[in-house]
Symmetry: C2
Subunit: 355 residues, 2 copies
């Protein structure tokens, strides 16, 4: 008999809908390999929500949203007046999947969603990093006090495993330093400059044309996004207490084609690297800057819009993880992973054919 997990989803944008479709596509695998039946009991959106005590068909609900542009009019439990917060209070679910749009400054509405859910003992998995930029430590403590689990793999770098590598695969080792190539847009531009000899401006235009860079690329190319992610990862994995504004920051917009070319001649490859390191005083310091990495540095191979992270540890040496889908589907897969790891018995391997 599969264990039943009742979930609700707040935010039904691209990540939320990808997650719903993934849930349906993976239902059989989850039952067979993990002994889990994940039931979708509601989805909350600003313009109306849907709730069903019988459980909703996830993929059909994503289709409905894409056709109707909202959920409030859904024939099976539409609630035009309800927002996500109402769903959290009323649905009686055991787990919240938080995928509302990220607000780095306030963390809302996700911050309120997550606090409310944890306060009711609900587990939370989040693709939204907003609430954790300033409140990771207090939210994690609040989760523990309420006997709930809080996981945010998808928020850190979608399907690239960063937090769970540090927390599970490097358990017992102290992480002395983190280096990350964490922004796909910047990395795409730098790769393009190196491979084609283009200027920064030309490579940016190309990235914008392809939909990789935004019209205003500031957050990506000036290192803000990298600083946000780096601070979050350092806070989770190194027990640091960094705010993004405490991360020193140099972007890539000042790099010239000549500098990139000259580095290449010396066998070095420019990446926008976020680096956090514990100093002799025990405090963690962090900085984002373009760095010319030698070709045999494991992050040198992280090409195009890919990402990667290197952990330097006391007892396990240096461990690097590279790759992982970084689109909404990758984020959805990371949300599902967090749910599975919350509901897995400690120490147990996969059940069924994997064990």
């Amino acid at each position: 008999m599969a264990e039943q997990v009742r979930i609700i989803v707040c935010g039904f944008g691209r990540v939320g809908r990808s997650f719903a479709r993934l849930l349906e596509a993976k239902a059989e695998t989850l039952a067979r390999d993990y002994g889990l039946e994940i039931q979708l009991h509601g989805v909350g959106e600003l313009e109306g929500s849907v709730i069903s005590p019988k459980g909703l068909a996830p993929a059909a609900l994503a289709d409905y949203f894409e056709t109707h542009g909202g959920l409030g009019g859904h024939p099976e439990g539409g609630r035009p007046e309800w927002k996500g917060i109402d769903l959290i209070r009323e649905a009686g679910a055991g787990l919240l999947v938080e995928t509302t749009p990220t607000d780095i400054r306030t963390g809302e509405p996700a911050l309120t969603h997550i606090r409310t859910a944890l306060g009711r003992g609900m587990h939370v998995v989040s693709a939204n990093k907003g609430p954790f930029i300033r409140h990771y430590r207090t939210l994690q403590a609040f989760a523990r006090d309420n006997g709930a689990a809080l996981r945010l793999s998808a928020a850190a770098a979608a399907a690239l495993p960063t937090l769970d590598v540090a927390q599970t695969c490097l358990a017992g080792a102290e992480i002395l330093a983190i280096e990350g190539v964490l922004n796909g847009t910047s990395n795409y531009i730098l790769t393009e400059m190196r491979k084609s000899g283009r200027s920064y401006g030309e490579a940016l235009s190309e990235a914008q044309r392809l939909g990789i860079a935004e019209t205003d690329p500031t957050l990506d190319v000036e290192g803000h996004d990298t600083a946000n992610k780096l601070a979050l990862i350092a806070n989770v994995c190194m027990g640091a207490d960094l705010l993004p504004e405490q991360v020193g920051r140099t972007g890539i917009s000042g790099l010239t084609a000549e500098e990139v070319h000259a580095a290449g001649e010396e066998g070095r490859i420019f990446r926008l690297v976020g680096r956090a390191e514990r100093g002799p005083d025990g405090a963690v310091r962090a900085r984002v800057a373009p760095m010319g990495l030698p070709r045999d540095h494991p992050l040198a191979a992280v090409d195009g819009a890919e990402k990667g992270i290197t952990y330097t540890t006391d007892t396990m040496g240096r461990v690097t993880v590279v790759g992982g889908k970084s689109d909404p589907k990758g984020a959805a897969a990371a949300l599902l992973k967090d749910i599975l790891n919350i509901h897995r018995a400690p120490g147990a391997a996969r059940s069924g054919r994997y064990s």
Copy 2:
């Protein structure tokens, strides 16, 4: 209050003694960050064992062994007639750390140790891959039937995380293919051939002089070791049912300096790659062979005696892990990691300053 975990260690070679020293060095961290007090209640060796209901000082015991060449005469609980199996039966421990020498063919004595421990409901962590080459599936099922956990991170690739990346960080994704650079000796030789232009024979001699290659390097350079590890990883992570002799195998001893040089001219780098892939019929096929990887392949950056593994998945894209200490200290760190992950509550983050 720290949770107490009573452990015994079978095998007190370099890995076992490294583990004992690590246990002592990390005692404070384990109490503070994981809420665990790991007590060493006995160590078993062929030539005599030691057992103490009060717990033993791990580092002093390693010193004692190195001075006396055995444990049977230890003043505090030496048992000259006891072997590991007696300790498993008599010590009343909750967890076995298995680090006896590997016998790929029979799996003994570890196989009997592990079966006996699991049958008594003891958890097992193993740095010895021998028992799992032919019996992984039945041992894992036996563990589950007895409510015990069985983990073998250290057996697969020391501190390079392979199994737990697949099982935890890629949970919910199907692993379609594995590519691994899993043998440090072969990789050292290939790196040396590429960088110095040496022949295979010259590079091998250099590796032997440095203590990286054995006097008889067959197991490493002809791909047997890679095939063993690949079969094990595929069986654990892909639900395969491979025996090492079913893995096709081409070693590196036939590679000429000219071939390595020509590949370099084309921007390719030779690695001894173990590859397992699920075919259209659902069966997993595996093969070990030297491959000229393009420079931007994530395993191309795995230089010298380092290792790395790439997982190709259905929902998370391609994820590569590289690095990790591969010496006895790295294996010891992996054993400790497995113990921590067994004793961690599901979904819980690190306690203390990490949460």
